[in-house]
């Protein structure tokens, strides 16, 4: 592939990753407390970055449905600075700032806290939770798996039947956790507030898929057996 084509590929990648391609995310750990009665969520996210130079930071947050950020503190609610997320195109909200560091050889730790209003939607006993994730627009660091980890704490009487990203499961303390190689734009879950367990749509689709494929495999096997004889 020619040099010109490589440059074009680089330009295309730059369209998708508008921030500096050199600074990268080593880890992003999110904790969300969904126990408040008002349907909101208290969220804390801790980034560890491999910083190159003095990159312009840009926190971005997409609003999903009625779930949107109300307030945002950089460095923690009690000790940090309150910042304003400005509305941009559609449901995108963002704030930009420049990070100046004396020493960029060490990983840089950045903590942000925010509150999501209407994170919990109820329909009778059914409940849907959506927690938009504050992102920095930096790609994951090379060679690091499961950059993103989330821990969601629901009221103890709830039962959760499905979630995004796939793999959201409760640990021994009853906190639901999930990991992913990149930072997603949200984490979500569906379940029941009365604790009853019902199979979620993913399980139904999994079973349906398995049944269809088994049927096709059986038909194909019979066809090939006839051809071979």
């Amino acid at each position: 592939m020619g040099l010109s084509r490589l440059l074009l590929a680089a330009v295309l990648v730059a369209v998708a990753v508008p921030a500096s391609a050199q600074t990268s995310v080593r880890s992003a750990h999110l904790y969300a407390d969904l126990s408040p009665d008002d349907g909101g969520a208290e969220v804390r996210i801790e980034y560890v970055l491999d910083v190159q130079g003095a990159p312009e930071m840009r926190f971005e947050l997409l609003g999903f449905g009625s779930a949107s950020a109300e307030s945002f503190w950089l460095g923690g609610q009690r000790t940090g600075t309150r910042m304003q997320l400005d509305a941009e195109t559609g449901s995108m909200r963002a704030v930009a700032f420049t990070l100046t560091l004396a020493d960029t050889s060490e990983p840089y730790r950045l903590v942000a806290e925010y509150r999501i209003a209407n994170a919990v939607e109820r329909d009778g006993e059914d409940v849907r939770v959506r927690v938009p994730v504050l992102s920095l627009g930096f790609p994951p660091a090379d060679g690091v798996s499961d950059v993103f980890r989330a821990a969601l704490e629901f009221p103890p009487e709830w039962s959760i039947s499905e979630g995004f990203p796939t793999g959201l499961e409760a640990n021994e303390q009853g906190v639901y956790t999930v990991a992913l190689p990149v930072v997603p734009s949200m984490v979500s879950a569906r379940g029941r507030t009365d604790g009853t367990r019902r199979p979620g749509l993913p399980l139904v689709i999994d079973l349906l898929t398995a049944a269809i494929l088994l049927a096709f495999s059986f038909m194909g096997w019979r066809h090939l057996k006839r051809a071979a004889s």
């Binding site: 084509r5 449905g65 790609p139 793999g167 399980l203 689709i205 999994d206």
Partner: protein, 472 residues
Amino acid sequence: MNPQIWVFVGYFFVVFAIGWYSLRATRNEQDYWIAGGNLGWFTGGATMAATHTSAGTFIGTIGVMYTAGWSFAWVLLSIPLSYWFMVAVLAPRFTKQKELTLPAFIETRYYGKGMRGLAGGIILVATVVYIQAQIVAAGLIAHTVFGIPTTAGMVGFTLILLVYTVVGGMIAVVYTDAFQLVVMSLGALFAVPLALRQVGGFGELLTLVESAHPLVFTWETMPATLLLTMGLSFFLGGIATPEKLIRLYAMKDMATIRRGVLFAIIMILALNLLVFMLALCAIVLFPELPTGDLAMPMVATAVLPVTLGAIMLAAITAAMMSTVDSLLIVAGSALSVDIYQNLIDPDVTPERRMWIGRLGILVVGSVPVILLLSGVGEGELVQFIVLLFTALMAAAFVMPVVGGVVWRRATKQGAAAAMIGGVAATFLWELFGAASVEPVLSGFLVSAALFVGVSLVTAPPPEHALRPYFDT
């Protein structure tokens, strides 16, 4: 064991079973190279669609759509046009005399063994380029599913593929293709509603996409010249790539070809539409992917339920296998029939020729992974490698194949000049030309000019070369 690994193991068990039964059904050379030339429309169309819908679609196309938005989606409309041209103009003449390989057609029409060897050589080189794209994508998937290094994934994928292609030949290829098309369709079909459910429906998706990537629905992400020449590349490549032409020989008659190609067009368009929807969902759900090529693996692992996600990844692997196995068959026949028998040992027995073909498949299938492990071609966007292969095939074969069956005056010298000049112009543009124009344009123009110009100044072709393709 991880459920994803169980699904992959089950999937490959099915593929090997098909290879085993196909070996038992392969009785002669015609069975091995063109599945007996007796395929029905469903199997023929499915193998055509599965060959087309490769990693180029499930990794490359979605990757470019994720990065550049809908402007690239319009390029794909050139694909049905090329299939229509193939069935309406090319197939009725091209299949009048059935051959085992595309270079065999070149020899018959252009009355020379050297022509056949030349075509076989071009196919071997271009095949290595294309298989690289598929192997890179396979490495990415293996890394996503199993957490193993990308290089180990590339090597493992190549080994599995080589085993069943070498053993089963074209019969194994067409039946695994049909199975894989079912798997791919099912995966994409279920993935779209599940992904839409996560973002809150189609209306909400459009709002979120514009919020996350405001340029998605504009024409600003790619130069117009690049889009147009990409469309040209898909159109010309769709007509003249050997692995598609050979499927015309594999189907039993023209009525079957018409139905099969229509089925392939419907499947390809439907799958591309689903892939575009998934690209939009990926823009919203995973805005920070380091490369667009990871969009589909992320949708499969993070949006879909565990089993379906693993099946979707198996489907992508299946798509790659469909393309690579077909190309390996073409490359094996190019080496054993078009080069070895044609130029080295004309009296070779059919059995020995088939074993040389198997050896050729092993060699051609191993070279791309060796090149990648040496660092050649590593890190390229899959779609761009696919486009380079398509441009090479279009520049080399569109004029000799299409011109050969519609223009009586086309000569051996004209076809040779077109093949050599077209490939050289494509490579030169790839290395030194403007990035905003696909190399297919220069390759095709040079090929067409040489084909017509040289044919007109050389002696007309002999009557025996025209008889199989023209009336009187």
